[in-house]
């Protein structure tokens, strides 16, 4: 399968933060969710992908091209959404469109009108009067109006109400009916990922933790609940992290089948949310509450 984004052994350090030997790939035709806590390097990675930052070392290629030689070619094919307002506030959406339109050779006014109508966006109101949700819809509209093959979004759903989050996911679902589209977005609202993400990349403290298919996560990971007496040196090895309380234990495993073999009916096995996986992986080992 073709990789649309490829980061290889990328290093980037700032004061008090470091992206360490970071490698990842994003596959064409799929939605990849990028998860991790606050300040672990999600935005930095997205900036590197957009060439807003250059790596200290390592290589970045988008559509198999590098930014040194093909910057404009690459950016023609990307639609982007950031979590803050990146438009001129004193302009209206129509005025903003006129400015951005000229940058893209593939701009499609019909598509722009389609999304404006669908999102019920006001064309002649100043952008600074837009609510957070409208702002996001406006960004998405601009990002989708030039037939971009890759959509890169930094925390697109943060601060949005649940109704609009669903609408937003619907738009992405419809976009993905076309197999040439690729979506990459960071989020810490992990419920966004449950219904749409094909791949999940987990970053923590500037390091790549895992890249997995969402179906693989469903198959491998499980939350296991049971009595503390079941835990001993041997059985503990099966868990990534264990939370113990006076009433029993709860743990995350990445080897669901093995757990079923070992414990059988003695434990309760549940499907973990992505949030569970993030939480337990970050906690590590075992702890007591």
């Amino acid at each position: 399968m073709e990789n649309v984004i490829e980061l290889q052994n990328v290093n980037k350090s700032f004061k008090g933060f470091q992206l360490k030997d970071f490698s990842m790939t994003v596959k064409k035709g799929f939605v990849t969710g990028f998860i991790g806590g606050n300040g672990v390097g999600k935005s930095t990675t997205i900036k590197l992908i957009m060439n807003l930052l250059q790596p200290d070392s390592g290589t970045i290629s988008i559509f198999g091209l590098n930014y040194k030689q093909h910057e404009k070619k690459i950016k023609q094919r990307i639609g982007f959404v950031f979590d803050d307002n990146i438009f001129y506030e004193h302009l209206t959406l129509t005025e903003m469109k006129r400015i951005i339109k000229r940058a893209y050779s593939n701009w499609d006014d019909n598509l722009f009108r389609y999304y404006v109508e669908q999102f019920e966006l006001p064309l002649n109101k100043k952008i600074k009067t837009f609510s957070k949700g409208m702002m996001m819809k406006a960004s998405l509209t601009i990002a989708l109006s030039h037939h971009a093959e890759l959509i890169v979004m930094d925390e697109p759903t943060s601060g949005l109400d649940p109704v609009f989050r669903r609408e937003f996911l619907d738009v992405l679902h419809r976009l993905m009916e076309n197999e040439d589209k690729t979506i990459f977005f960071s989020t810490h609202v992990t419920t966004d990922l449950d219904s749409i993400a094909d791949y999940i990349i987990f970053i923590d403290k500037g390091q790549h933790v895992f890249t997995k298919e969402s179906t693989q996560i469903e198959e491998e990971y499980a939350i296991v609940k049971g009595e503390k007496e079941l835990l001993d040196a041997d059985t503990k090895k099966e868990f990534i992290s264990i939370r113990k309380s006076n009433h029993g234990f709860e743990a995350l495993t990445a080897n669901k089948n093995r757990i079923e073999e070992v414990f059988g009916q003695m434990v309760l096995i549940e499907k973990p949310s992505i949030e569970d996986i993030m939480f337990y992986t970050k906690k590590g080992a075992e702890w007591h509450v």
Partner: protein, 125 residues
């Protein structure tokens, strides 16, 4: 084609889809050669990720329920013996369930029913 998935089930979503499409095929609701919705269309309709439907279709293909033609989509396969057997089993299950329900209504016990079944089975031999 009706597919109902539960997000809260312990069973992975792709398995739920696999099982339900399989049932549709075995019951004959989907006929040989009939096209299935595209993976991407189905993913959109069910509000799930593309990779989930992809995985379900791959399993269906691996087990011979469907075949796919690049650029055209996926279609219901001609069923082999194994499958016909499985399909018959499904019919048997349904008929037996009906028999059990009828028995319960008129108070025929499990033992009585088994006896009746054994007797009828011998007669057919």
């Amino acid at each position: 084609m009706q597919i109902i998935i539960s997000n809260n089930s312990k069973e992975p979503i792709y398995e739920q889809i696999y099982a339900q499409i399989k049932t549709h095929i075995l019951k004959g609701e989907l006929q040989v050669g009939q096209p299935l919705p595209s993976m991407r269309q189905l993913a959109k309709d069910l509000d799930i990720s593309v990779i989930t439907t992809k995985r379900a279709y791959e399993e269906l293909e691996k087990n011979g329920f469907i075949y796919s033609i690049v650029g055209k989509g996926s279609f219901v396969s001609e069923q082999n013996n194994e499958m016909i057997k499985e399909r018959k089993m499904q019919v048997i299950e349904e008929q037996l369930t009906a028999a059990i329900q009828n028995s319960k209504e008129i108070g025929v016990s499990r033992t009585e029913l088994i006896e009746l079944l054994t007797m009828l089975y011998r007669e057919e031999e």
